[in-house]
């Protein structure tokens, strides 16, 4: 174990899931979780199981859709995809994040 991993807030995990689905297309829960781990360079503390809470929240808001299907290896899995509303929400949230981190960066780096 290297440096202490960052704890994820509920809202940020949702955003990560949305982004992952937007770039990966259709994916199942395990795939999404693995992808987040990889992209974040293993700096994120993620119990993969917590992704299901995130998925159900996004589903209830209508930002992602779900359907049972089969994976490459003929395993049954539930596949998720981002919706049009979800893409819109993603764009909004992502730009909000950029602004926020830019401002925080400026404030935190002052002397």
């Amino acid at each position: 174990m290297g440096a202490v991993k960052l704890d994820l807030l509920q809202g940020t995990l949702d955003l990560m899931v949305l982004q992952t689905l937007a770039s990966m297309g259709v994916q199942h829960g395990y795939g999404i979780a693995r992808r987040i781990e990889q992209v974040s360079g293993n700096e994120v503390l993620l119990n993969q199981g917590t992704i299901y809470a995130s998925l159900v929240r996004l589903q209830q808001r209508g930002w992602i859709e779900a359907e049972w299907g089969t994976s490459d290896n003929n395993r049954k899995a539930k596949f998720y995809s981002i919706t049009k509303r979800g893409r819109k929400q993603l764009a909004e949230d992502a730009s909000h994040w950029q602004r926020l981190s830019a401002v925080m960066g400026r404030v935190l780096s002052q002397q």
């Binding site: 829960g29 395990y30 929240r57 209830q60 395993r75």
Partner: protein
């Protein structure tokens, strides 16, 4: 996104109700997740076992993931609530004794509150049962000593007022001086008495009352000589005519004349409930003002304000108009007679204010008293719950060790409070409903609008509100204890005599002291009201109500001239009285047209002959027209002589006056034998009667003047009989005697004078009883509270007491120690309570009669009562303490 919120809520509700399929779906998904992870791991080169293990590690806690998903998708709040409720019901079910006691205490407290709120709502808060009732006003001179006689106007003055004012949509009124049972219904079996009221033609239009059947009066029917018509009140129509709808348009026989029934009034209209509480009105007839122009001040004045006109504006206009009102247009010198030179001549107040304003104070006192009962009940329950939660210390410690958060446990305790409160509210609501139905049928209590008392949505809302408030109140103390206490302490085995325990003992003692103080206030309040009521009963009414009863007599004195009529009347009454006097058991009988404490009337302002008085020094006395024997039958004290049958239309005109009037007419002299200018001529005063309370029991008696029935036409005839036996036993023989002389005599009620006096006192008695009941309730609850605390203290200190006894303390010593503790608690409570009681007594000062707020007897009584209660409450625990076997006590833990 508003749209998203709605959709999300819908989804959450759906998820709450369909847990099973969603759970199954999630389980399948998680299983597939793990399989995929395993596959991946195997592909990376791990062994099967290692792959599985790594997959589980990566996944994290399965149960946790499940719970988090459930929380995210459903309504976790409801889930937790459901759990808490199930748990609470289980624990309450285990401790049935406690649950039953707690629910009972709450039911009494909440039920009493709901019932009183219902009464307060009906009489004080709810608007009158007329459309836009805030526009209705009552117009009268300010209240004076002569009751309704001074609150009415003549027919001319009424019409003049209507013509001269601009503030009102319409002005109406009714004839205030009819007696009960003034009509006789014949032609339907035995003659039945009925009570009728005369109202001005537009009465119902102004009030906004529509008939349930038929129509209202027309302008034609208000004129002299028109065919008599009547409107039936709903209850009378149901009772007398069996609810037969075809009665509308038919004729009935009233007082020997055919009267057409033009309609039936709706069930929601009750004349008596609004305008003359305690009496029942059966039918309404039009008041023909032309017939009554010479009758004096007989019409009450009510009106409906124009929209946008305030009462203050109407008042200002009334003050300008009143000097222009004439008692009779034919006598210009009577103009301006409605002006009171000393103050306000005419008051305009809302009809609601007139009907129930008088009672505002009493009702607020009642409401406060019942609120205090609820407070005491809550304090009691708080103590009970504290004791219970102390006993459950181990349970809470265990739950905390297993991971329950403190907040969760406080929430569970509050749920317990809410459930107890809800159960108490349901039972209490039922009790209140029964009480309200009973109260609404108490026709003899002269409280306005009482018969319209019913349970409605507002009452239900109030029940829910106080159930919540009560739960919060009594749940607070145990909840706070849970929130702040050290839970793990309880897991250790000792627990007795710890410092934390002592602090809680103090809290509970403080609660009991508060209870005692509240009970104190209730007891002192009830005591003061009781003493006032007893003082009222002791008032010298000027007549003897015991062993006297009255019955309304029907007679026919019609004759061509007034004098002949007087002679005929004299003969009829003389015969009646002779026969009734001869009945066994009758001491003396007499006849009068009005009885004290009932309706009355006044006209004229007699002046002693030859004397001049300053303006406004003489009042108009109440007028009674009586027969010989009446003074004796009523047990009035007379100086001089009674009227005799020789005082006839041809002989000298005679009168009797009361002592107060005599003192002003001829101060320092004997009034008997002097001449009074009254009734349009010279009258000789032959007797001076001691003041009677003619209008009310509690106020000052006014002036009264008595004319003989052979010299003045009476409005009515009430036969008063004084007997040596219980009057009710003579009812049959009196009626028979009357029927011998007049077969048409209706079966009128033989009313004891005691009942008439009781009815006058009924509002005061009603309140006193209610406050007394509440004080009793408060006392019982407080004594239960004292017992609970002391008993629990003894239980907790069993070991300590055992040690003391083993070291040589006698049983008596132990007992005394417990009793002293009890007395100390109660004394402190009494101390605080006395101060609070004095404050409360000052506030109800205006409701007391002949009793000071500092009445020492009441306070002393309260002190003695509470000390006795303390001793009784402490006795059982003291006995138990003295019976402790030191060996057993030392052994147990």
């Amino acid at each position: 996104m508003k749209d998203g919120w709605v959709r999300r809520s819908r989804e959450r509700v759906r998820a709450f109700f369909w847990k099973a399929p969603l759970d199954a779906d999630l389980d399948a998904e998680m299983a597939s997740h793990l399989e995929l992870a395993m596959e991946d791991n195997v592909r990376r080169g791990m062994t099967l076992d290692e792959a599985r293990r790594q997959a589980m590690v990566g996944f994290g806690g399965v149960q946790q993931a499940r719970e988090k998903q459930r929380e995210a998708r459903g309504l976790p709040f409801l889930d937790v609530l459901g759990q808490d409720m199930r748990y609470t019901l289980r624990t309450l079910g285990r401790d049935v004794g406690f649950t039953v006691v707690a629910v009972l205490i709450l039911a009494l407290g909440i039920g009493a509150n709901v019932a009183v709120f219902s009464v307060v709502n009906t009489i004080l808060l709810r608007p009158l049962p007329f459309p836009q009732s805030e526009q209705l006003v009552w117009i009268a001179p300010p209240p004076q000593k002569c009751g309704l006689s001074c609150a009415t106007y003549s027919a001319d003055a009424h019409e003049e007022f209507k013509a001269q004012t601009r503030s009102y949509q319409d002005v109406t009124g009714y004839m205030a001086f009819s007696s009960p049972d003034n009509y006789r219904l014949t032609g339907r079996g035995e003659p039945q008495p009925a009570t009728g009221m005369e109202v001005i033609g537009n009465f119902f239009e102004v009030l906004g009352v529509q008939p349930a059947m038929g129509r209202l009066f027309t302008a034609e029917e208000m004129r002299q000589g028109s065919h008599p018509v009547a409107l039936l009140e709903y209850a009378y129509w149901k009772r007398q005519f069996a609810g037969d709808p075809s009665i509308v348009g038919k004729e009935i026989d009233l007082n020997g004349r055919p009267v057409t029934v033009v309609g039936v009034l709706p069930a929601s209209f009750d004349f008596g409930a609004v305008f003359s509480p305690g009496s029942k009105v059966d039918l309404i007839v039009p008041e023909i003002l032309d017939d009554e122009r010479t009758w004096g001040n007989i019409v009450t004045m009510m009106a409906r304000l124009k929209p946008g006109v305030t009462v203050a504006q109407a008042q200002a206009e009334a003050t300008l108009v009143v000097p222009k009102l004439c008692w009779s247009i034919k006598y210009p010198q009577s103009c301006g007679s409605y002006v009171d030179k000393h103050g306000v001549s005419m008051e305009v107040k809302t009809l609601k204010d007139y009907v129930s304003g008088r009672l505002r104070r009493s009702l607020i006192v009642l409401w406060s008293a019942v609120g205090m009962i609820l407070l005491i009940a809550c304090v009691n329950l708080s103590n009970l719950l504290l004791a219970r939660s102390a006993a459950r210390g181990k349970e809470f410690a265990m739950r905390s060790a297993l991971g329950a958060s403190r907040a969760r446990m406080v929430r569970q305790l509050l749920t317990e409070s809410l459930i107890l409160s809800a159960a108490g509210a349901v039972v209490g609501f039922g009790l209140a409903w029964a009480l309200v139905i009973w109260l609404a049928h108490q026709g003899s209590v002269a409280l306005p609008l009482l018969s319209t008392l019913h349970i409605d949505g507002e009452v239900l809302g109030w029940t829910v509100l106080i159930a919540f408030a009560a739960a919060l109140l009594f749940g607070l103390a145990p909840g706070l204890r849970m929130a702040s206490g050290n839970l793990q302490e309880a897991l250790k085995d000792s627990g007795h005599g710890s410092s934390a325990g002592r602090k809680h003992e103090r809290v509970r003692a403080a609660l009991v002291i508060a209870e005692v103080a509240l009970a104190c206030v209730l007891l002192v309040g009830a005591g003061l009201l009781l003493r006032s009521f007893l003082k009222v009963l002791d008032v010298d009414l000027g007549f003897q109500p015991d062993h006297a009863a009255s019955m309304r007599v029907e007679y026919d004195d019609s004759a061509p001239t007034g004098d002949q009529s007087a002679v005929k009347r004299g003969a009829i009454f003389r015969e009646i009285l002779t026969r009734v006097d001869a009945l066994p058991g009758v001491k003396v009988a007499g006849i009068a047209d009005y009885l004290p404490l009932g309706r009355n009337r006044a006209w004229g302002t007699p002046t002693p002959k030859g004397k001049v008085f300053p303006e406004g020094a003489l009042h108009g006395p109440l007028v009674y027209v009586i027969s010989p024997g009446y003074v004796g039958a009523m047990g009035m004290r007379l100086h001089g002589r009674d009227f005799t049958w020789n005082d006839g239309p041809a002989s000298e005109r005679v009168v009797m006056i009361n002592a107060s009037a005599a003192r002003v007419y001829w101060p320092g002299e004997d009034a008997v034998g002097r001449i009074l200018q009254a009734n349009g001529g010279d009258c000789r005063v032959v007797g001076v009667v001691d003041d009677i309370h003619a209008d009310n029991v509690e106020g000052d008696p006014g002036w009264q003047i008595y004319y003989p029935i052979t010299q003045q036409r009476p409005n009515d005839a009430e036969l008063v009989v004084r007997s040596s036996v219980e009057p009710s036993s003579l009812a049959g023989s009196v009626l028979r005697t009357l029927r011998e002389l007049n077969p048409g005599q209706p079966a009128a009620e033989f009313r004891p004078m005691k009942a008439i006096v009781a009815r006058a006192n009924s509002p005061r008695q009603f309140f006193m009883l209610l406050v007394g009941v509440f004080a009793g309730l408060g006392l019982v609850l407080a004594s239960l509270g004292i017992y609970g605390v002391i008993a629990y203290g003894v239980t907790r200190q069993t070991q300590e007491i055992g040690i003391r006894m083993a070291l040589g303390a006698s049983r008596g010593r132990v007992q005394r120690a417990v009793l002293w503790k009890t007395l100390w608690l109660v004394l402190v409570g009494i101390g605080a309570g006395t101060v609070a009681s004095y404050g409360a007594a000052r506030m109800i000062q205006s409701l007391l009669f002949g009793t000071e707020a500092t009445d020492p007897m009441t306070y002393a009584g309260m002190l003695v009562l509470l000390m006795v209660v303390a001793l009784v409450a402490g006795y059982l625990p003291a006995r138990r303490a003295s019976r402790i076997d030191p060996l057993v006590a030392l052994r147990t833990n």
